[in-house]
Symmetry: C2
């Protein structure tokens, strides 16, 4: 990412961090709020909310109108990580370089903190999105629930878990990547675009961009699971092999996985170009991914 784009990215990120901190206070019973804050304020890259903010800005949305939605998307992402890390799911002890939520607060509180975030996030949107037509807010909320539920990450996670220790088809793998990963990126671009009254064709184009980016992102994640360390990754590497999970890497081999990331990155940028959507950030997060993969060759 070039210096100027990096600066803009970090400005967005700072706004997100400040608002997440502000939105989630600590009240009685403290443990639930502390558990929510532990995972939400854990210093992630804030990729999804930054994408939402950048997309909204492309359509002239005032920054204060997209902030609550961007924060809600990050809360949803954190909710899915807390629950995915539970012993009954992926049983992961580390996340973003820290102990996972249930290792610190226990399984009951971690489960409830995830549940709490699922209600807290849309409430943040309703409470803090001012000067936006109610129909538009309802449209964004619907996108949120689609991505959060059986039309989104839940189905991705279910099929992912069901696929452990099993041969799966290429279509099933595609489904997992689409639902478990791409849907949240799609939510990010779509929320920003809907708030900015984007046309249907602009919405389609951004959705396709997020699909390519999401798939590339997940394959890269699979590659790093093989090649990386706990320190670099912030979570336990080698998990996929441990639970005999089929990934793009295990099904197609490392070389083809890397090639596919580069191919998808190219398509993601092409779709922006050919639709005249000009965003340094949207282009450069894709380039960063491609650069990362190239280093693995």
């Amino acid at each position: 990412m070039n210096k100027e784009t990096k600066l803009k990215y970090n400005e967005y990120r700072k706004i997100i961090d400040e608002h997440l901190d502000k939105y989630i206070g600590v009240f009685y019973p403290e443990s639930i709020y502390e558990s929510m804050r532990y995972s939400v304020l854990s210093g992630g890259k804030r990729l999804r909310p930054v994408i939402a903010m950048e997309t909204a800005s492309l359509f002239g949305v005032q920054i204060e109108n997209i902030i609550p939605i961007a924060c809600a998307i990050e809360m949803l992402h954190c909710q899915s990580l807390i629950h995915d890390d539970l012993p009954c799911m992926d049983n992961d002890d580390y996340r973003r370089g820290k102990l996972s939520n249930h290792k610190v607060f226990g399984e009951a509180t971690a489960t409830l903190a995830g549940d709490a975030l699922l209600s807290y996030a849309p409430k943040i949107i309703i409470d803090n999105t001012h000067n936006v037509n109610s129909e538009i807010i309802l449209r964004v909320l619907k996108e949120f629930f689609l991505a959060a539920g059986v039309d989104g990450i839940i189905s991705g996670q279910i099929v992912d878990i069901d696929s452990e220790k099993k041969e799966i088809s290429k279509e099933t793998l595609e489904f997992i990547y689409e639902y478990k990963t791409a849907k949240l990126f799609q939510l990010a671009v779509r929320s920003g675009a809907i708030l900015g009254s984007a046309s249907d064709s602009q919405l389609d184009c951004l959705t396709l961009y997020a699909k390519y980016y999401g798939h590339a992102f997940q394959i890269y994640d699979d590659i790093l699971d093989v090649t990386s360390t706990l320190e670099d990754l912030g979570k336990t590497p080698g998990k996929d092999a441990d639970v005999q999970k089929s990934t793009y890497v295990s099904m197609y081999g490392m070389k083809q996985a890397k090639d596919q990331v580069l191919f998808l990155c190219e398509r993601a940028c092409d779709i922006l170009n050919s639709n005249n959507i000009k965003s340094e950030i949207l282009v450069e997060i894709v380039s960063d991914l491609a650069e990362g993969v190239k280093k693995c060759y």
Copy 2:
């Protein structure tokens, strides 16, 4: 409940059952939909959605406008039961006379089915509430998220779990009953009333009614936990004593617990009477509770 009121109650209940069945289809990946359906279509009394429908009808709301909200409230109730029953929480094997969700589908799917319902419910409201002003829908959604999250059942459950094997204050017990139980009844009356553009004082009065009813309901539940069988109760009795949970019964004794239920039931009816809110169903569900307790003397 007299015959005529019972008939009306069962009419509501039938509408709820039919719509819950219709709203939750089965698609790929089937296991998550089946897990959701298993708990939602498990033949509960549908008390909360019936209360929502009855309250809405008092304010002249067309029945088709309250149905999606009533169903969403039942889904939320089921979500809380699925997660409460998990081994890391109350670890209950039975619910509504059947094996609990995780005993049939496993912990991972049960956790995800609960998560899924939390997004599915508000999506049902947005998709199916037609001819209602968007501001009103947003107001109802906000009530939903308040009841579902840290301002509602989540905080009730956290404090409940934290209170096991501990002496707790009367205030803490009140908090648990208020948040874990009363908040969902309050959501039911408030949603119906908001949809019917009730005045603030009517809203306050119904909220207070639901508070008294909710507390009475929970104390009665504690009494039944001591006096009832698995067959009658549909869930494992004696759980509170097993985990050394403080309840109204353990803290005040059985006699005072029963007296308190009757006292709260009287206050619930009084508040309706003195505010001229005339509903056979709202009165008779309270009477039924009082009758049930009288049989325990």
